[in-house]
Symmetry: C2
Subunit: 517 residues, 2 copies
């Protein structure tokens, strides 16, 4: 692919056509530089069918910012837009608009607040909150949704897999089944959310994480085809990587060929002063096999050798494997807990695609417009009340109970600070019968969630390292109630409105309904 194609496909035209046609309508109406405020949020946690997320992990912001920094309308982009015609041959974009776009078509006027990457996030709370000139704030929508939706989706899946694996290492192996170059974003998100390392070399380099891997069946197959066999393949691999030797034992027959050959090689390594890492199982009944393999490794004197499991794993399958090990291991004289503590999970397809729910339905909604220097709240009424977005410039807060567990996220008006309130009223976003009054002695902490990231295009935020994002994620997940952390049928976490925001919303709904009648 030529460079021009990359630059074209991944620059400012990485957007939907209607963003540009709408921008021109705003231009013609003289509204293109009017201040507009959009919020990006998702309405529902991923639902994987047999299991559902009770929280998400935010991710994607830094790559969005990178994209925004470089994206602007180049001469080539303008020339292309100039060439586009409608069905009667009339040009779609007129010269005055294109001239404006060439001069002003960057994100230098955008101010952006966001919940940092790696944080636990919930429905209807803005992950990003964008203020800026209407035309460019509109044009930003597609790329913003693309970056943050996908990475949040995959980080969430990774957090679940990390949870189900009881904190044992998770290796991300998904590139071959990933969505083109999107695999790189997926790997990054997986690392933020809970994977510990990835097999993806390029993105590991960029992120500063060492890439990891074992070997494939093809290594054994090649040696077998050359008349050398599995043992020689293992020996060649061990000679090359004596201190980093993990052998894939299921190419021929796990228990009768792979493991005995691996043990022989591990013994050879030990005689030379090296200790193998372990073995990998990639097929069959992984719970049963890991019990048998653990037994064989123990008896051969390798009680610390890891057992890497792979083959279409996800959080539910890992959970099932662990449950099965707990039930069956004692029957074979294997200590289940010790075995679980030597497992490592290689997770590919089902992580990088968020199998079961492959998209996060994040949306980007207008919440206010600027008029005469002040912000006027905007609303869009939906036929289902829970889909009506919350209007106005807002702040988002997390409230921790006396145990230090997060008990609710609270949306307030911009000028409200629940830390100053004696009692905090939590209103359900759409059901007027549901509310909760929290006295300040029921609350251990109230934390603002949104940070200033861009102020008129200028970065005013210290981007955290990936390690810091991972630490943040661990801390946030540990402050969730165990019911919310459940892999299946989690408790519903409360996202509430302050009384004043509730009143504003209801008032606007009433007015809008009156007008539309």
């Amino acid at each position: 692919m030529q460079t021009f194609e990359h630059d074209t496909m991944e620059g400012i035209l990485f957007t939907d056509m209607y963003q540009l046609t709408m921008a021109q309508v705003y231009f013609r109406a003289g509204q293109h530089e009017r201040g507009a405020h959009f919020e990006h949020f998702f309405r529902d946690y991923p639902n994987y069918g047999a299991h559902q997320a009770g929280y998400c992990i935010s991710a994607g912001l830094e790559w969005l910012l990178n994209w925004m920094r470089n994206a602007h309308f180049r001469d080539e982009d303008i020339a292309y837009l100039r060439s586009l015609t409608g069905r009667t041959g009339r040009r779609m974009f007129e010269d005055d608009f294109l001239t404006w776009l060439r001069a002003n078509g960057s994100f230098e006027g955008i101010s952006l607040r966001a919940i940092p990457e790696g944080r636990v996030v919930h429905p209807n709370v803005p992950l990003t909150s964008v203020q800026g000139p209407l035309a460019m704030a509109q044009i930003l929508e597609t790329a913003l949704l693309n970056h943050v939706n996908f990475q949040t989706l995959v980080a969430t899946k990774a957090a679940r897999i990390h949870e189900s694996g009881r904190g044992r290492p998770v290796l991300e192996f998904g590139l071959r089944r990933a969505q083109g170059k999107g695999g790189n974003a997926g790997t990054r998100a997986a690392l933020i959310g809970g994977a510990d390392f990835s097999s993806n070399v390029g993105v590991s380099q960029v992120l500063g994480y060492p890439p990891k891997g074992t070997h494939a069946h093809s290594l054994v197959q090649i040696f077998t085809s050359l008349g050398l066999g599995e043992l020689e393949a293992f020996r060649a691999y061990a000679d090359m990587y004596p201190d980093d030797c993990t052998l894939l034992v299921d190419t021929i027959d796990t228990l009768h060929s792979g493991v005995p050959n691996a043990i022989r090689i591990f013994e050879e390594l030990r005689r030379k002063g090296h200790e193998a890492i372990g073995v990998r199982l990639d097929s069959g009944d992984l719970a049963y096999l890991s019990i048998q393999v653990a037994k064989m490794l123990d008896e051969a004197g390798f009680p610390l050798a890891s057992i890497v499991l792979s083959n279409d794993l996800d959080e539910l399958i890992i959970w099932q494997i662990i449950t099965q090990i707990r039930e069956e291991a004692p029957r074979y004289g294997v200590d289940a807990d010790k075995l679980i503590c030597r497992l490592v999970y290689g997770v590919g397809t089902r992580l990088i695609t968020s199998a079961g729910d492959p998209a996060l339905g994040g949306v980007y909604k207008l919440v206010a417009v600027q008029a005469d220097g002040s912000w006027v709240p905007a609303i869009k009424i939906s036929e289902s009340p829970e889909k009506t977005p919350n209007p106005a410039n807002k702040k988002a807060w997390r409230i921790y109970d006396r145990r230090g567990k997060a008990t609710a996220d609270l949306l307030s008006l911009e000028d409200e600070d629940p830390r100053q309130m004696k009692r905090v009223m939590l209103r359900h976003p759409s059901d007027h019968t549901k509310y909760r009054l929290l006295a300040d002695n029921e609350v251990s902490e109230i934390e603002p969630l949104l940070v200033d990231v861009l102020r008129e295009g200028k970065l005013v935020y210290d981007l955290p390292s990936l390690d810091a994002m991972r630490e943040q994620r661990k801390a946030d997940v540990s402050r969730l109630d165990p019911g919310v952390r459940r892999l299946v049928n989690p408790h519903v976490y409360h996202v509430s409105l302050t009384q004043r925001l509730w009143d504003l919303k209801q008032g606007m709904i009433g007015t809008a309904l009156q007008q539309s009648r």
Copy 2:
């Protein structure tokens, strides 16, 4: 993102770590330049849960070739690999291997055959067939699978959506819910498979397709917030695009506000000599609403105005909408067939993510190695017979019956030509009780499927245009039996082996089993 990061993440290191560690083992064993033959194929059609594909559409080849042309080990890549260490601090890659990789680490030695993009393809038939020096043929695996798996997956979904829409236009709208930059590959695949246009501007430019779109709810919302309302928003849009005017009518109330306002604008346009395209519905009961909207448009004198439907559509939902229209339209005095012929489908999330089955399980398997100048077949025995790959250099053929319908794909040895056979024996790939003997008078045509694409790195194939791929897809789908084309529970298409290939495979399985005992 800096350019170096793009180049790093999307160049030759867009691969799995173990490809590189295995390559070094081959190097140390003196096998890195031995000829190896790998095949890429998938084992199962996508299964979306409530529905299943009966065929796939191949896609991704050209972008893979672009990647291969540019990917090579640059000094920076070598320096990075040199910096990697294992857990004891020992370097992972040694100097002699890195020197070889710097000098030889490109795909110039690779020969590649493939089934062209846009063709109907089936399980176990190689989509690509790769011969070349072992180390580089191995390193190619990840990127090859990434490109061809994902685009084939999405092209397949698009073909199904095209089928369910009865050939009415399909617009691809998925970028905001797509997988990072993978959205571009997804859009391309959607266009090959059955979408007619995309909203994705950048990739539309690169592919030479005009990007399409209507407008978003935010246009109406902005005008409403400014005190101008839906009618003014529509008027502004229509003034700007008088010949390309599609209005989104569900922001406030479809039947009581959106459609009456749209009709008023359409009348204004007509008075000025322009004809509107139509309206878009993005929420609610789309079948019911489209009947009512058709009725209103008809009565207002716009019987040809299109009705664009969107909102989490996929092939099954489109099928349900059409079924419901057929049942309900007559009740309202609306001609169902005429209505169906004015529908247009905007399909986003569920197309670009292949909702229901978000990954194609394509694999890359060694089928032969070169020894003393000739190719020796290789095999990998699996515990499930149907997972044992078919060994040896092969050709792939499509056999058409007397009706001109494809009746089977046939894998043969390299030196076989079923066109020369009086009778063709079709053996099931793993079940010895299943076979079929075709006399030549039962066959109307036998067509080779694989074309030479790269010969030792040199492109020897005229890459078809996207239009040609689309034509090929239409032709191939029309030559499928209707049972295979079904959206739900399709008939199983036969993929068979010649008698000689069957014999070779069984002989190799027998030998391998004997050796492993």
